[in-house]
């Protein structure tokens, strides 16, 4: 196995009580790469995460990975705040540090980083959900891991905690740490991860670099036009029919879907023949890819 390969899963199948949950999973993650595992509820994301952290073993397939499972190279943050409410934040961090066999010296720094230091002596049962999530992230950062696996890290977070999480994860990613996270959506994750695995009904529906995935899907860009009363939508559509793939009209709002290569010509034609109140141009993005995969594929 090449040295830069961190995780290499080939033809992995997993079933529980005669129900197959994962089908023929192939994943390769290189050192320093960050990946989002995206999918609906029941797509198999959490099961895949459990395989990655080593608490489940596949029924068949080949795993060629760097030895990271149950070592301090790996840290995991579960979806639900798996914390002991009767302990204070600092007691919990000491407990986890002892279990990881790392010292206590970085605990204060980490608690400051996740902005929970002000409540470190409070009982965890008194923490809000966001505070608990931040403490979960803090425990994951304890051993300065090479791989950080997070199951739905943004679930139920308020905007300020979301921003804090994004900032911390971006920073870790920039430092060359591998981040693997699961999510229902890719929204807000493109700054953190460069690769995506779309899961659908226990299978990898699509995977690769985010940009490549979008390009390969041949997605449409779109222009949303708010037309003046005197402008005729029919006239616009007729004149650019050969350049667009589809359109939607609702009152004076016209949305045109087209391939990126045609954008300049479309805009020029519209400006020449129509009177427009407002124009909004949207490049195809990961969310379009998401909807295409889950609604159409």
């Amino acid at each position: 196995m090449p040295k830069n390969i961190l995780i290499n899963y080939k033809n992995i199948n997993f079933s529980y009580k005669d129900v197959q949950i994962l089908f023929d999973i192939n994943i390769t993650i290189k050192k320093g790469e960050s990946v989002a595992i995206v999918g609906h509820n029941g797509a198999g994301k959490t099961t895949l995460i459990k395989l990655l952290i080593g608490v489940l073993e596949p029924n068949s397939g080949t795993i060629n990975s760097t030895h990271y499972i149950q070592t301090n190279k790996l840290s995991f943050m579960p979806e639900h705040s798996a914390l002991y409410g009767h302990l204070s934040g600092i007691e919990l961090m000491h407990y986890f540090a002892e279990l990881k066999g790392v010292g206590f010296k970085d605990i204060d720094k980490i608690l400051k980083l996740v902005k929970i230091d002000f409540a470190m002596y409070k009982k965890i049962s008194q923490y809000s959900k966001g505070m608990k999530q931040r403490l979960m992230l803090a425990q994951a950062l304890l051993s300065d891991p090479e791989i950080l696996i997070l199951d739905e890290p943004y679930s139920g977070l308020d905007p300020s905690s979301r921003r804090l999480f994004s900032y911390i994860l971006q920073d870790l990613s920039a430092k060359g740490k591998s981040i693997i996270l699961s999510s229902h959506t890719l929204e807000g994750l493109t700054d953190i991860v460069d690769n995506v695995i779309f899961m659908k009904k226990g299978r990898v529906a699509l995977s690769g670099k985010i940009k490549t995935v979008i390009d390969n899907l041949d997605l449409n860009d779109k222009i949303k036009l708010t037309l003046d009363k005197e402008s005729s939508a029919d006239k616009i559509i007729k004149s650019i029919q050969h350049l667009i793939t589809s359109h939607m009209l609702s009152h004076n709002k016209l949305t045109l879907f087209y391939k990126t290569t045609n954008n300049i010509e479309i805009l020029r034609t519209i400006v020449n023949i129509a009177s427009i109140q407002d124009i909004d141009i949207n490049k195809a993005n990961v969310n379009d890819a998401y909807y295409l995969i889950y609604d159409k594929l």
Partner: protein, 274 residues
């Protein structure tokens, strides 16, 4: 690198201290045992029954009823509780082997219970020593009782941990633990007695009965802890005559009763789908 078993064990013992379980168990044992000792001291003084026998038998009955119950309730949610709140998944992603997790929990709960047993029963010795009622024989017999009570606590702690691995909900674990307590403390001997006194009683020979008693840790505890003191009390005297095993074999059997459920719990946790 610290030892995960020790780390988990220390954390759990601190928990039993902080949530006053340890204090509660100690007070319960101390109060009830003192009450029983004082009661047996007065009620049977003129009955011809040896006072020491009566006191030790009363205390062993206390152990039989309360120690399994305390052990089961201390440990029933050790694993299933962690699983329900999601911390089991997190813990097992740490550099902790599954057997270390179970052993850490087991030793913590067993040690906590043992501290309660030692403090609870030793408090009677202390109180009796103030009134000059403490004899060497009673002290010796009490230490024997403490030792076997600790073993009994270990057995039911191990059983509770096994239940905690098997079930997926705390509420189910409670039901299983109550069933275990009822079976070993009440029904096992009751069923045995029914069979022995029925027309089919001849099927069970004395040797077979002796072997059957090894399947109930409560009976083993009763035989070891009461020992010679039971010779003055008719049912226990009969029991001592029936059992052909030495104290060593009986103690070893109790240890097996601790180890076997633990090994099975570890085996099941290894294959458990989290």
């Amino acid at each position: 690198m610290s030892n995960p078993i020790l780390t988990i064990c220390v954390r759990e013992i601190k928990n039993t201290i902080n949530n006053h379980y340890l204090l509660g168990m100690t007070l319960l044992l101390a109060t009830l045992s003192l009450f029983l000792v004082l009661l047996s001291d007065t009620s049977f003084s003129g009955s011809g029954v040896n006072n020491l026998s009566m006191q030790i038998t009363s205390l062993s009955s206390l152990s039989i009823f309360f120690i399994p119950l305390m052990a089961l309730f201390l440990s029933y949610d050790s694993i299933v509780g962690e699983s329900e709140q999601g911390s089991l998944l997190l813990m097992l992603s740490y550099p902790i082997k599954r057997h270390q997790f179970i052993l850490g929990k087991f030793f913590a709960n067993w040690i906590s219970l043992s501290i309660a047993i030692v403090l609870g029963y030793c408090s009677i010795l202390l109180l009796l020593s103030f009134g000059s009622n403490l004899t060497i024989k009673f002290t010796y017999a009490s230490f024997g009782l403490i030792y076997t009570s600790i073993l009994l606590g270990g057995i039911f702690t191990a059983m509770a941990l096994l239940v905690s691995v098997v079930v997926v909900q705390r509420s189910t674990a409670i039901i299983y633990c109550i069933a275990i307590w009822l079976f070993f403390v009440i029904f096992f001997d009751m069923l045995l007695l029914i069979v022995l006194t029925s027309e089919y009683g001849y099927i069970i020979s004395a040797d077979m009965l002796s072997n059957i008693l090894l399947f109930n840790p409560i009976d083993m505890f009763r035989i070891i802890s009461v020992g010679d003191q039971g010779n003055n009390l008719l049912p226990l005297h009969s029991l001592s005559n029936v059992v052909v095993f030495s104290q060593f074999i009986l103690t070893l059997s109790m240890l097996i009763w601790i180890i076997a459920p633990l090994i099975y719990a570890i085996y099941l946790l290894r294959g458990k789908n989290l």
